[in-house]
Symmetry: C2
Subunit: 453 residues, 2 copies
């Protein structure tokens, strides 16, 4: 009794620089390619799409630390630093000898880690006088975060929201509208890419790939307008390292160092954020942790994808990224962890995985909800269906360590809460959910025309 | 830039005792009456309904400080201490010279302050071997909090949820079910009170008064089962004083003392929680603040109610409480701040108001949503429709102070976030909401048969 549970930091502990892992990597990722010329991408190639500073950060392979502007740190103070929590309730529920910690990113006002990158992306746009931003959102976490961030800088935002989510997740749509964003169901009549699909398939319910194509097209064809992406890219992972940098200080206060670091995996933003700061100590040889990306069995790009040059979107507007991918036209089963239904992993994570520096596991949907329920009942927080994958992986690790008789210190990232995802829990309790997997043939067919890296 | 925004405390700063204001009151509230005998209530009269310790706390007029059990403090650590936030974004949006602070109770895992009392109520039941608890819930905030609290102590919970909310607010119902509670739409066939209403009015959509009657009836007729209430009563207000006690320390760290302290007002739980610890310094003559309870114009018990002996529920099962009331059969308009749609104020708050020690304002529904939107866009947090009333009152105070040329330090309680109330925001943006008021004649008719205090 009366043991401490949370480790708080003060606002002065919010990191002053993000950690860029690329300079520390023994083998650098292959370059991204310009989709038109197929030549290695330059920062300038990205200027039409992203702010100049985000473009430069995307291509930065030399600076390990990139300063966080004061204006960004001041907005981080709305909710940062986030607590590190010793999951004593979960430990007790599992009867484990392991020490389990989680970084609670769910305390952000939009309920997830996505604000960590939304704020600097909006800030850099504002700095160069951008007046409008476009983006896409699937489940709505990224769209909500960018809606708030753009509002803080007085930038107008248009969000293409996958049509099925627009209709099924009205709460996240309303959150974006409350912050003043325009939300458009995708496919829409507002873009060429959207009109083409609507006229060919009038009842098409949309996909993330299509929504990205629409957002990119609108940004490219509108003066003073940029596009923003919430995952996959290097500069997004960079911004998310505030998670791991804070967690590192907090683990130090707790007097422990993680044997295992876990994040759920969609495009890589929260996994990279919690992992990279600890991984730098692996790379320097000072310390050793194991890193586990927890992806859904229905969308297993890290565990079963192929290393190829692939597009980030369906229409092929984006640069070609060297990624572990299921193919940009892969259609994952309609699992409730909408934020993990993405075909590919970012270039850095893909390279780290290929080089054996990080591990990945794939989690069946039912196991993720079972883990979520155990966590909710023992720690009080109902996790987002995405974050539930990290919890499931942490539970697997704890059980395996106990069986082996070598209890470990496990750290995972609770990337968001599930209070706006309760319809998914309803369906789980009603027994309406299933596990989904993908056949080897399907993956092979999807990637077969993609160029080797 | 780089000014501090939040004031965090550590877990050792979680109060070790709750503050009981009654011993400090110059004029004590009139006694509650046993509904059967009409004689002053004793703690023993309450034992069939509540845990013995909660019953004793309810009647305690002598001890200013009541120790918080270690087991309760340990569970408070799941989210407490909560941040105190300097609302610099809101100050800027208003262009005010006032300093505005808010206590952020929305960071609890169920999104509101209700857990502060749910945990000790469940704990005291567990201590005496209670196996089952019943309660009612309107919008669902209290039901969600008690679902989590009972789960932590392995107690089974049955929640009577007002039928219209059960159907319209499926997310809050799912939250309760995720924590393992049984949720029953009220009126139901499971109680005499419910059956009577259903058979007489088959399409009746329920009310808080009916749900309380059902929960009380089930508790009274079930062995080893108690009832728990989330507001109105003294022991609930007592538990909520952790809010103000933490805020007092935090304001001291900020080097300020509030000129004005504001809470929204339904039955009194969050207003009492933020106010009473500061009010004790008014009562001792050391300091002076003004206290404002912000109630909805549609349910104006403090500003326009009558001081009468009234029941807490519709069927008249509860003790008679000396309260500012609109009558226990008052049916407030269907405003979206469901947690504020209650006919009466607790005995202590009613007495304080009658003696001029606190003030109250009534806020029209549209003004509350306007304030909520300004706050969301400037501070990032979408407030619960209930909490929006406190924000509206804070904005009024800031504007009045600026006009008078005497800027003030204003503190309000953000009792909860609105992420599960987005349907209300949708209707606000669509222009579907209206202001509601009550006629003097309606209030007079409702209270005319109630006994004077």
């Amino acid at each position: 009794m009366s043991e401490s549970k949370k480790i708080f930091l003060t606002e002065t502990d919010i990191p002053r620089a993000w950690f860029n892992i690329i300079p520390s990597m023994p083998e650098k990722p292959a370059p991204m390619l310009n989709p038109a010329t197929k030549k290695p991408l330059t920062a300038e190639d990205l200027f039409p799409l992203f702010s100049e500073e985000a473009s430069r950060q995307e291509m930065n392979t030399t600076d390990s630390w990139i300063e966080i502007p004061d204006e960004v740190r001041d907005l981080y103070k709305i909710w940062r630093p986030t607590p590190l929590v010793r999951a004593r309730g979960l430990e007790k529920a599992l009867g484990t000898a392991c020490h389990i910690y989680f970084k609670n990113e769910s305390v952000s006002p939009v309920g997830s880690h996505k604000l960590n990158s939304a704020i600097p992306q909006a800030y850099y746009c504002k700095q160069q006088g951008v007046t409008n931003i476009t983006t896409e959102t699937g489940a709505g976490q990224w769209g909500a975060a960018l809606s708030l961030a753009t509002r803080m800088f007085g930038i107008d935002l248009a969000v293409y929201m996958v049509k099925i989510s627009y209709n099924q997740k009205p709460y996240r749509r309303s959150i974006m509208q409350t912050y003043g964003a325009e939300v458009i169901a995708s496919p829409s009549m507002s873009t060429k890419a959207g009109r083409k699909i609507i006229t060919e398939h009038p009842n098409y319910q949309g996909s993330l790939g299509t929504a990205i194509s629409e957002a990119v097209e609108l940004a490219m064809s509108t003066p003073n307008c940029k596009y923003a992406l919430g995952s996959v890219l290097n500069h997004v992972a960079l911004h998310q390292t505030v998670i791991g940098l804070e967690a590192e200080k907090q683990m130090e206060i707790a007097g422990e160092y993680p044997d295992v670091v876990i994040g759920c995996f969609g495009g890589g933003s929260n996994f990279s954020g919690i992992s990279f700061p600890f991984l730098r100590h692996n790379l320097s040889g000072e310390r050793h942790s194991r890193f586990i990306a927890a992806e859904p069995m229905a969308c297993p790009k890290l565990t079963r994808g192929a290393m190829r040059y692939d597009y980030g979107d369906e229409a092929g507007y984006t640069p070609l990224i060297p990624m572990l991918t299921l193919g940009h036209n892969f259609e994952p089963a309609n699992i409730h962890a909408g934020g993990l239904r993405y075909h590919g992993a970012g270039a850095v994570v893909s390279s780290l995985k290929e080089n054996g520096l990080i591990d990945a596991v794939d989690i069946p949907q039912l196991e993720s909800f079972e883990a979520a329920t155990v966590f909710a009942k023992s720690e009080g927080i109902i996790p987002a269906p995405e974050s539930a994958h990290a919890i499931a992986a942490a539970i697997r690790e704890a059980r395996a360590s106990d069986e082996a008789g070598t209890p470990k210190t496990i750290l995972f990232n609770l990337s968001g809460h599930g209070l706006i995802d309760m319809a998914s829990y309803d369906r789980y309790f009603a027994g309406d959910l299933a596990n989904y997997t993908v056949s080897d043939e399907q993956i092979a067919a999807n990637v077969e025309t993609l160029p080797e890296v």
